[in-house]
Subunit: 203 residues, 2 copies
Amino acid sequence: MKNPPALEQLIESLRCLPGVGPKSAQRMAYYLLQRNRKGASGLANALDIALQVVDHCKLCNTFSEQPICPLCSSEQRDKNLLCVVEMPTDLLMLENTQAYTGMYFVLMGRLSPLDGIGPKEIHLEKLIKRAQDGAFNQGPVQEVILATNYTVEGDATAHYICELLKARGIKTSRIARGMPMGGEIEYVDSGTLAQAMLERRSV
Amino acid sequence: MKNPPALEQLIESLRCLPGVGPKSAQRMAYYLLQRNRKGASGLANALDIALQVVDHCKLCNTFSEQPICPLCSSEQRDKNLLCVVEMPTDLLMLENTQAYTGMYFVLMGRLSPLDGIGPKEIHLEKLIKRAQDGAFNQGPVQEVILATNYTVEGDATAHYICELLKARGIKTSRIARGMPMGGEIEYVDSGTLAQAMLERRSV
């Protein structure tokens, strides 16, 4: 005894979503067919359109509908600074701070040998070329800022990129570690506090 | 600063899935566009096909590609027994036990006034008609077995249906409560144990 074939196929297809196992996929399929057919047809449509029009920016590698994304083609941005982030979300978060006016490079991941993600998968060759040639072949950038996450994998990725860039004589920096804004010493984790102490700066 | 429009639209559309909020939707969209474009296009396709061909069985209300599902049209099933379950999954689970050879009625939900799910949403009129007229107008069924979940909502649903059926003189039963197979008294929860004691049967 099984579900009808088209329903089984939908359940199987929903499992391509990250974090969705057999039980959630079944729940999602039932829900869509029972309570939200309009949403389901909208989703099918949005998937088709996104697959057609969304590609990567040739310069910064983020998702874009144009060959060069609006940020990279903007005249307002400082072409001498290049900030490396893991994901497009990180880029959006940094933009929201309005604390940075340079260019970006989006790795679309982080080094993670166990998941089969090596230097090629995060486009390091393209990054090196971008750092050496500049955005529009105007020569090497002045500084590369590594803004990968402070997780084990993000930090390893930053180290790896740092070595590659230093070997080519490109100035490299890493975003600061320390106490968060509004953080109280009593409640901050000891790792963060230790780093904040080690990397203290004179005032 | 935002994602490109087609990507924003995909993220918004993914939120129609149950249990998917803005952050997961963004993660899913990035994953599909970056690492699994084939899966995404398969999903769009499966959604379209399922929306076209999957509807409800006119008799038992489960998902079916035919007007009458294979189980309802089978000659092998006992037409005098009608088992009421909440979801098609529950039907599949009962079928896997091979302990029941009668017919089914799938509510496609449970009474849940807070979520706006009342008697109409779980097709109770259709159920009453089905119990009174039989599968193919051969007269009332001999017994309706209520196999909704033993959750608060599932139990309330069973009570409600029970009252409706009793008022029409139809014999109604509820699946048994008690110790699970292989259950140890030391580890079973006290509610289950209390019910097992109250509903003990002579041997």
